[in-house]
Amino acid sequence: MVMEIVCPAGTPAALRAAVKAGAHTVYCGFNDETNARNFPGLNFDRAEMREGVGFAHDHGSKALVAINTFPRAGDQVLWHHAIDDAAQSGADAVILADPGLLKYAARNHPGLRLHLSVQAAAANADIINFYACTFGVKRVVLPRVLSVPEIAAINAEAEVETEVFVFGGLCVMAEGRCSLSSYATGLSPNMNGVCSPASHVEYRDENGALDAKLGGFTIHRAAKNEPAPYPTLCKGCFSAGSQTGHLFEDPVSLNAEQLIPQLKEAGVTALKIEGRQRSKSYVAQVVRNFRAAVDALEAGQPLPQGMLARLSEGQAVTTGAYKKTWR
């Protein structure tokens, strides 16, 4: 079976662009803190979600709704409503990370398909099967800490489908288990759906060099004519011991295009593209590229050579943890 391409849609226009470009599946979120890309100007209100899901279905694509932050104590009802409304909009599945929410969805919407978000960082077959057996989860998005052989080992034991990231932003920390952002800015992926938020970013031009501060901490400096990556904490420039540099990760983004055959061999069902914050033109280009790749693989033809680097952060790419040496 052809591998499923799961594409980001930060706006209704991006959703349409992804579907037109050949996305088998799109994923999106409501315009509030229930989703992990709660960025200014992005996401879907209730009417847009119904229309978006309808548009995807009309064109033979599936639509998933990510409700993948951790509900705030005392305000769980906001997240519960998001699940109710996603179900009502006809979404093909919801992507959840919080066990309390999984339980709510399983109990109140028994017909609704559940995917486990990468934010749950389920990194071995035991916990994956536990989620499947406890909540009826049908698919798990694997954290970006695993190598291809480890993914193969998980699939050999796991009772559910797996989905892996192949392109876009790269978390170097286990997803959903990082509070670097709230330590520096007060806002975190888990609680607020933002990491290194734009509201706390400050750029300063110092004689052609571009300094980037996050929450008052200078975490990147780009010399004149050097690429200027967004100041994400884990990809910042720091010093420790006698060294200064990108101690956690270089400002690279993930491109596992050339690993698609191995991932298929490893039993992966779906390939996920990160980037709900990116433009519809970006989404369309990436989707077209990956759709061509999985179609070529299915037809037994060589993969088209990737030309996506310029769309990437800092214009350098990595295959991340999929190759063991990354660690």
């Binding site: 706006t11 226009a13 200014p40 938020p197 734009a198 509201s199 433009s279 030309m307």
Partner: protein, 180 residues
């Protein structure tokens, strides 16, 4: 659409020079009229700005001697063309072609930004909100302008035709979208 981003065209000096002499009041009035029309036809654009819809944005085409000051004004937008440096909550600067390419979805804002073809200063969140809202609106500036009533449309259309001829900067959405 090609897989890689094309080289961004720069406005030729002749056009820039011409703009140095153009009276800016009619330009401002035309642009405000155009933005009002967009606001009527794409209310979602201003809704998407949310808390940022009362901010002031400076759009600075680095290859032109003017800047545009955009005040979304909660859906009653106002645009002024100004010479010299002017203050706003957020400033987005880059070649005119890059700014227009953003509007038309030819370019990806993040990619332009990473490559430093686009520079954001001030309120980064507001700039991001504007970019995301515009990206969703699927605007076609040449259509918006053509549909405007005279005299503004006549003035802008002349400017647009001239600009396209001299720069190769497209003021219309790429064909592909329409053809689909």
């Amino acid at each position: 659409m090609p897989h890689t981003q094309p080289q961004i065209p720069i406005c030729p000096a002749a056009l820039a020079k011409l703009l140095r002499l153009t009276p800016l009041v009619p330009v401002s009035l035309s642009l405000t009229a155009c933005s009002r029309r967009i606001a009527n036809r794409h209310p979602g654009l201003f809704r998407r700005l949310g808390e940022h819809s009362r901010k002031r944005f400076i759009l600075d085409p680095a290859d032109l001697p003017v800047v545009l000051c955009l005040e979304p004004n909660g859906g009653q937008p106002k645009v002024r063309a100004l010479r010299g440096r002017s203050e706003g909550d957020a400033r987005i600067s880059g070649p005119l072609a890059a700014l227009l390419g953003l509007v038309h979805g030819t370019y990806d804002g993040d990619a332009l930004f990473f490559a430093r073809d686009l520079v954001i200063e001030g309120d980064t969140a507001a700039a991001l909100a504007l970019r995301n809202a515009v990206d969703d609106a699927e605007l076609d500036l040449s259509q918006e302008i053509a549909a405007m009533s005279a005299p503004f449309s006549r003035f802008l259309l002349r400017a647009v035709a001239y600009a396209q001829r001299r720069t190769g900067v497209s003021l219309a959405r790429p064909e592909e979208e329409a053809a689909w």
